[in-house]
Symmetry: C2
Subunit: 323 residues, 2 copies
């Protein structure tokens, strides 16, 4: 009987969902009685305190993350023989929907109109014809693909950017990160990359200064892909550009009331559109994440290849996680 350790206490209906996919499994929930026997850790960032847990899981062979992002795992504590799988895919549609909501809000000025109209101020702006725009999606994974599909319906030219630059269906073209970073372009740029060693501060002073103005940058991935000081300068120098983001440098990933460690230093800028990391927070998100994760655990247990296996070297010596 496979023993699966959870780092949170699921609701009754969550349990039922998990048992549907993994009827033979035994679930060990906090407060844990027996850390040593579990071979599998199903991990939710709701309670991200894994530092004390992982070193004591002597039989750990597989970590399944509920979420797509695995940047907040304590990578230095995970033994080399342990396979880590991202929850990528389960949330892609919801996150892509949020990316489009932020992009269209920026391109059609909705939050700015909203505040002006509430004061009875009719200040009409000429907007772009969306079918004349080139969109660049950083990331060609399942979220990037879901965003591309939506942007194509608006008639945009859609370019993907990935490490390899290999062509991917659903994109008009795919460029390599190296090529795009040296000569960045795009009327709309959507960040849909995992945060890892390569993507950390990928959008820095160099990229932003080469990019120039009148752009919309949307971030539904991780704030730390963007260098905040460089962004602040760019937004001040390019008032017709907009940064619309669901993710922030000082948020704590938690479904507890979100604690902001420091005030976000760009929030006072008029060309910033903000949402509180809610892209994945939809009615069926929890259900979809649980089912997808449990299906992947079953794949592992049956000796198959789990989906979304993470390349550990991407997360070694990362600058944001020194513990």
């Amino acid at each position: 009987m496979p023993k699966i350790l959870l780092n949170w206490v699921p609701t009754q209906s969550d349990f039922e969902l998990m048992r549907k996919t993994l009827p033979d499994a035994e679930f060990e929930v906090p407060p844990w009685q027996n850390l040593e026997e579990a071979e599998i850790l199903l991990y939710s960032p709701k309670t991200p305190d894994l530092d004390a847990l992982i070193p004591n899981m002597k039989n750990l062979r597989f970590i399944q993350s509920l979420m797509a992002g695995v940047d907040h795992l304590p990578w230095s504590l995970i033994p080399n023989n342990v396979i880590v799988a991202s929850g990528s895919g389960a949330n892609s549609e919801a996150v892509a929907d949020m990316a489009l909501a932020l992009a269209l809000s920026a391109l059609k000025f909705i939050p700015f109109y909203q505040n002006e109209m509430k004061m009875d101020l009719w200040k009409r702006r000429v907007s772009k014809d969306l079918d004349s725009l080139t969109a660049v999606i950083l990331g060609t994974g399942s979220i990037g693909k879901a965003i591309a599909k939506r942007l194509k319906a608006f008639g945009m030219q859609v370019v993907g950017v990935s490490r390899s630059g290999n062509q991917v269906e659903g994109f008009d073209n795919v460029a390599s990160s190296a090529d795009w970073s040296s000569e960045p372009y795009g009327d709309l740029i959507v960040i849909a990359l995992p945060l890892n060693r390569d993507s950390y501060h990928m959008i820095d002073k160099d990229v932003l200064s080469r990019l120039g103005g009148t752009r919309v940058i949307v971030n539904i991935a991780r704030a730390a892909i963007v260098e905040p000081q460089a962004l602040k300068v760019w937004l001040q120098e390019n008032p017709t550009s907009v940064y619309a983001s669901d993710v922030w440098w000082n948020e704590k990933l938690s479904l507890q009331p979100v604690v902001v460690e420091q005030p976000i230093s760009i929030s006072y800028l008029p060309n910033v559109i903000m949402s509180p990391h809610t892209a994945g927070l939809t009615e069926y998100a929890q259900e979809r994440m649980l089912t997808t994760s449990c299906e992947n655990i079953r794949r592992f247990l049956e000796g198959g290849q789990p989906l979304g296996i993470v390349r550990k070297e991407d997360y070694s010596q990362t600058p944001w996680n020194e513990n």
Copy 2:
């Protein structure tokens, strides 16, 4: 040589565009020298004062509207033998883009988050999974179709509503106005109908009370399709519903600074999202409207059937235009 009267003074580049499509035409612009000879009126709502003009155009045979909406024409003054064509089609993509911007802003709470986050208030809401929603588009014309295409990319079930209820490609289903009005439904309802005798106050107290709550209604057509008092009551009774609109009861259709005759009485409600009638105001909108209109005039001059011919009975004895 066909003589075309314009009710506004075009820019030099607009003239060049028109001459490209109609090289043999003579354009008569304000201040008009000769009203009687022109057989064609190319009409822009920028200067809507047609009341003095139309009765003096003794040879008038054809009115081409630059815009899709023809509700503000002085219908009672237009002789029966004059054909009127709407500019429908030229702006459809831009208007559909705005409809989506308003819909996604409402469904993903963007303007509400924006105001909260600017005050450092992290108030996360659970949003709908868009692929679980049914969208109802009132209107299956070129704007309705462009909206349907976009909503399908989000995985929504998309139902059209038209007078006939005849099936139209791009919609999962089409219902008749009569059927939908008697049992209205839809998580998202997008108003994309021309304002005419049938659609005036189509969304009234009866429809809204049958519809119930937790809906998003988007209006990119004309405010008067919605009965304002009934809407106000519905929004107050259903705080989880949102009305997101580009069009208002008291606006004047003009590119002059927009004059609001009375304050909009629902603007103080928290569940209202507002933009200042800018759906069609895009970089290439003017160009596209002019070209489309001139192509339609050419069709008329060559003896063909112009597109978008308006049924005059739809505009006779309309309640909003008593002059």
